[in-house]
Amino acid sequence: MSTHLGMPTVRPMPAHAPDEPLRWGQPFPAAAHDTLRDTQLRANLRTATRTIRDKRLAVTAELPDWEDLRDAGAGIKASAMAALPELLEQLEVSVQARGGQVHWARDAAEANRIVTGIVQATGAREVVKVKSMVTQEIGLNEHLAAAGIQATETDLAELIVQLAGDMPSHILVPAIHRNREQIREIFDARMGDAPDGLTSDPAALAAAARAHLRARFLRAEVAVSGANFAIAQTGTIGVVESEGNGRMCLTLPRTLITVMGIEKVLPRFEDLEVFLQLLPRSSTGERMNPYTSTWTGVTPGDGPQEFHLVLLDNGRTRALADEIGRTALHCIRCSACLNVCPVYERTGGHAYGSVYPGPIGAILTPQLLGVGETGVLDPHDPAASLPFASSLCGACYDACPVKIDIPTALVHLRDRVQHPPGRRARPTVWSVALGFVALSMRSRRTFRWAGRIVTVLSWVLPRRVRRLPFPGSLWTASRDLPPLPRQTFRDWWSAR
């Protein structure tokens, strides 16, 4: 986290800096309860997600072969996962052949150590950063700060988030929870060289960021980036962006460090023709994003003359071992699923307590952390609540450019949270209640008796029950108990 002047007008969101980028705050229901109270946040999100949804639908409808592209994207990702060891080895050889250095990191701590070591070896005290989900995931900025190295985010939204001391709340637009007036306040209070009389006009705010960062770009000696894709066959890495801050970071400094999750590898250069159509149309709703850069190792006389690629696992192999959950690794981080999700639109990203919010985050975060797999399962683990943060409406599946079946993965992970392989979950009210339901459905006879008990209760209990005693109150807190039927369906049916 960079230095803050501590102006009282700008309150960080969330209020307390999280310890873990993938697991912070309360379990989803409690966190959502808080964020739902923020009417400004809900208004900001409603406007933003509606705008982007319309744009995405317009540009995807333009392509007659959109569904064929989705099939191809899904197929390429599935085959890349199946051949992952060979592709990673091939990528390493290709990058090294072109003068790049390849590093491997098992987890966040190891990746942070590697990056810090490379920066320290150059002697630089500051680095510029291209927006990257993976460096958010590993908490790189905080780690560098602890080593006395200042990391400056250069993407406009990331800069806003960094200056405000916020956590990102959206994969593509990390500052989606802030509106223009709030952003003006943040710049005014926290950006040392913000112009006097700065207005909340987005063009003026963008111009202020341009002026603020230009000097930093020119003096930067080291840049850190993520990667949208890496081609195993050629060693080519690609970054897709809009503002040109990516090009600045990828071109101006002498040393470039790219951190990427191992799942980003693609087999062949030609695969770009699929993803460069799927990604921009799904994420910003544009026919093409303003800038895409690709580079292969080191190009003599052009751009960084020292290139490091850090290949990160950090729980990805754990997800890969799950035959259903592994599809979360196909994600190209477009954020279309967030923009169409009725839950995300209302709760915002911070309720998910992870740098990966929304539907994809709900299946990715618990798997990266290994929730429901190892250790004693705590049903109050915030990450364990994420697979339940969905109405299972399926809008995310329809929007996903690589056809990740998020609803199926959510149901699968719910089951894993309830029944972790090889160990018993701590019983909850929910699991006990479902246990009774399962018991009643075991045979025709027990089901009939269960129905009879309910009809008897219907004469005993009042017709309308608004509040049950604990533990039933957990259920009635947000809904009424429906009137109990006087007659079972079977009795009604046989009486016809």
């Binding site: 990673l88 098992r106 987005p202 809009s242 040109g244 250069f269 159509q277 190009t299």
Partner: protein, 217 residues
Amino acid sequence: MNARAIVLAAVRNALDGSGVPTPEPSPRAYRIGGAVAARSADAVDLFVDRLEDYRATVVRTTSADLPAAVAAALRDVASVVVPAGLDPSWVHTARAAGVEVQVDDSTAPRTHAELDAVAAVLTSSRVAIAETGTIVLDGQPDQGRRVLTLLPDRHVCVVAASQVVGSVPEAVRLLAPHPDRPLTWISGPSATSDIELVRVEGVHGPRDLRVLVVRDA
């Protein structure tokens, strides 16, 4: 065991234990050609339409009139930088009109500070895509180092009508023989949608993109 061996072993272990069959070869039923034929008049029209949608300035010209079109695009600037491999005849008219022309040569590359002080850059391009309004630069001598087209605030880019293909796959296949060249795909001026998802042109890259589309007369 080092991290590399451990990660690779974890990947292999995950694949072996997952029980997922090896997937069929990826379906590739999508279009390779675009809605318009590569290098056709329709392709140029669509390309221009898409560029204007991004709020780039487009001028159609002929190879005979190109030097005059370049001069017009540089009329209000004091200086322009060009890569060493650019056709020198393109800047004759502009130079005569008083624009200072700096040449970036690999033997004497300009510093970042020098490039930051130049008002404009003039380059050629490798390929253009009609459907998406995209120009691809591949760093060859007529386009220069990547930094050239990054620091000056105006990018004047020459695209020959014969370079305009219809679709993204057509462009990728054209670029595939040289994957080692650093590529810059440009679709309009630098932009952001980070504030309320409202598109604003002009952040860090050139805020003013002027494309000269040349049709051989």
